[in-house]
Amino acid sequence: MDKLLEIKDLQVTFKTYAATVQAVRGVNLTVNKRETLAIVGESGSGKSVTSKAIMGLIPNPPGKITGGEILFEGTDLTKLSERKMQKYRGNEISMIFQDPMTSLNPTMTIGKQIAEGLRKHQGLSKSEARKRAVQLLDLVGIPNPQVRVKQYPHEFSGGMRQRVVIAIALACNPKLLIADEPTTALDVTIQAQILDLMKDLQAKMDTAIILITHDLGVVANMAHRVAVMYGGKIVETGTVDEIFYRPKHPYTWGLLSSMPKLHTRQSELLAIPGTPPDLANPPKGCPFAARCPHAMKVCTEFMPDYSDVSDTQQVACWLQDERAPKVEPPETIGVGGRTR
């Protein structure tokens, strides 16, 4: 496997007038070429901040990358000047945001918006860029691309807009596409269309995707590997099968248990009690300790190291220590939604 992106001990903080929020507290990640890595976690777990850090889009102030490296094909993106970063952004790495309504400029035609990146990064002429824009619209499944290319965003529906956003993101054949909750604002039937489109395009264009989402169904559908984030840290990573069928971290268990299963009937959902930690005042030990049913004294005091469960699965949990009691994952994690 070729490493495309490697994040080492990334730390991001945000200063508000009241406190300093440690949004990302030492994240290590790798993304290989052509794979889809899903980052899951609840709001405030640091998943979106991590992705913005890769794009160099952390607003400063109040935000700041306070430590770590982001190596993209060996180049540390955190050390690049804004000018050099612009060469990567939209060209080598591009991003799709959650809300297709606000990520398009309402005063520019769709064609111009797609052509913008092409002319800037690939130096295409006006007519070449226009031609390519039509091709791209066709590629993302927009009917009548010759006509649509001259239209404005308000003439498109929500699902069509997200297709346009994807076309813009893929215009320069990026090596890495970051999709931040790409389907959250869309309806289920449209979501299915967009997920299919993204998988299809990935196969055609050999792009690696970082998929940020809280929807485990979307993860199961799209991802090859999964990183579970909690409290600004990655608590577990593994292949999608490992995370869904052989999870090791109690938070992953809780996450899977709290999903209702479509094909079985349960009397009660297993909720994770409590509230995520306040990252303005992060806990000393494991961030999940306060909500963990298996918490031990050591958990509140020390952050566990990562231990290898397999070549591809790592987990940060004291339960992996040989001194810890043996705990079996609860049955409620089920096998996703299937009837067994």
């Binding site: 039937t189 485990l216 479509l262 994770i272 299937r338």
Partner: protein, 335 residues
Amino acid sequence: MTTQKNERQKYVEVNNLKKHFKVGRNAYLRAVDDVSFYIYKGETFGLVGESGCGKSTTGRTIIRLYDATAGEVLIDGVNVHAKKSRAELKDLNKKVQMIFQDPYASLNPRMTVKDIIAEGIDVHNIAKSKKERDERVYHLLETVGLNREHANRYPHEFSGGQRQRIGIARALAVDPEFIICDEPISALDVSIQAQVVNLLEKLQKERGLTYLFIAHDLSMVKHISDRVGVMYLGKMTEVAESDELYDNPLHPYTQALLSAIPVPDPDYERTRERIILEGDVPSPVNPPSGCRFRTRCPFATEVCAQVTPRWTEQRKDHWVACHLYDDEYKGNFNR
């Protein structure tokens, strides 16, 4: 959750309800267009559909936040939209309550949690003294899993899940019988959604509440509901008991909706066949003639454009509006 089949009493009846909004000269947005259903006492009725299908408008019209354009809503035998005296209105307001979607917009940012929860107590003069008011608020806070130290804080100090629990406590303050839950979990994280759903189920058991649960997340609706109604573009397309609906969906739209939900099971996702609907939902200002779903329906024929499907009971307690199951038009489809 399970209700006795033999003595089921219809608590809410919605008959031919219409709600149209004027959007321009002679242009009306038909948010809810001739919708009928009923809710049994003590059950949870789930209402699902995509954005803009009119499910929230239905909920808000039932509770009289909007006046109905046509049709009637009976709650416990009382016609909601008929003219009422102040006392009758207050009585209705105590019986029917609502929980809202956005935990950030549903609490007044300038009021303390205590005053927010006590609003119903104040409006209906339930507490006789300040002490009784406080006691009631503390009790409500504990009922929803918060504690009395939270009473003097402001909404912005709470997380989304905690705010939603405050919203539930506010609704419970007047001891309602029927609660309309308007997408109460859509804005919450997965682990917090389960907390809120469990709380709602616990309250239902303890207090015998009747719920109308509006959501777009079908898996959660299936979990919490006894019966489910599916809406599309202002029309009810199908109503059935939740297991029946998920096991034997009749309407092509319900089938597509169910097949579109991504399931958290990688093996299943790799092998499943989806029905992917083409195109987008048409505008409710200018809906298609005949069956509203025909523009996206894989089975649509000419008759679907000409005749509005009838609302028929195909099996016991399983209603659907589709020509595919109508004896008169069945022959038009080669299926």
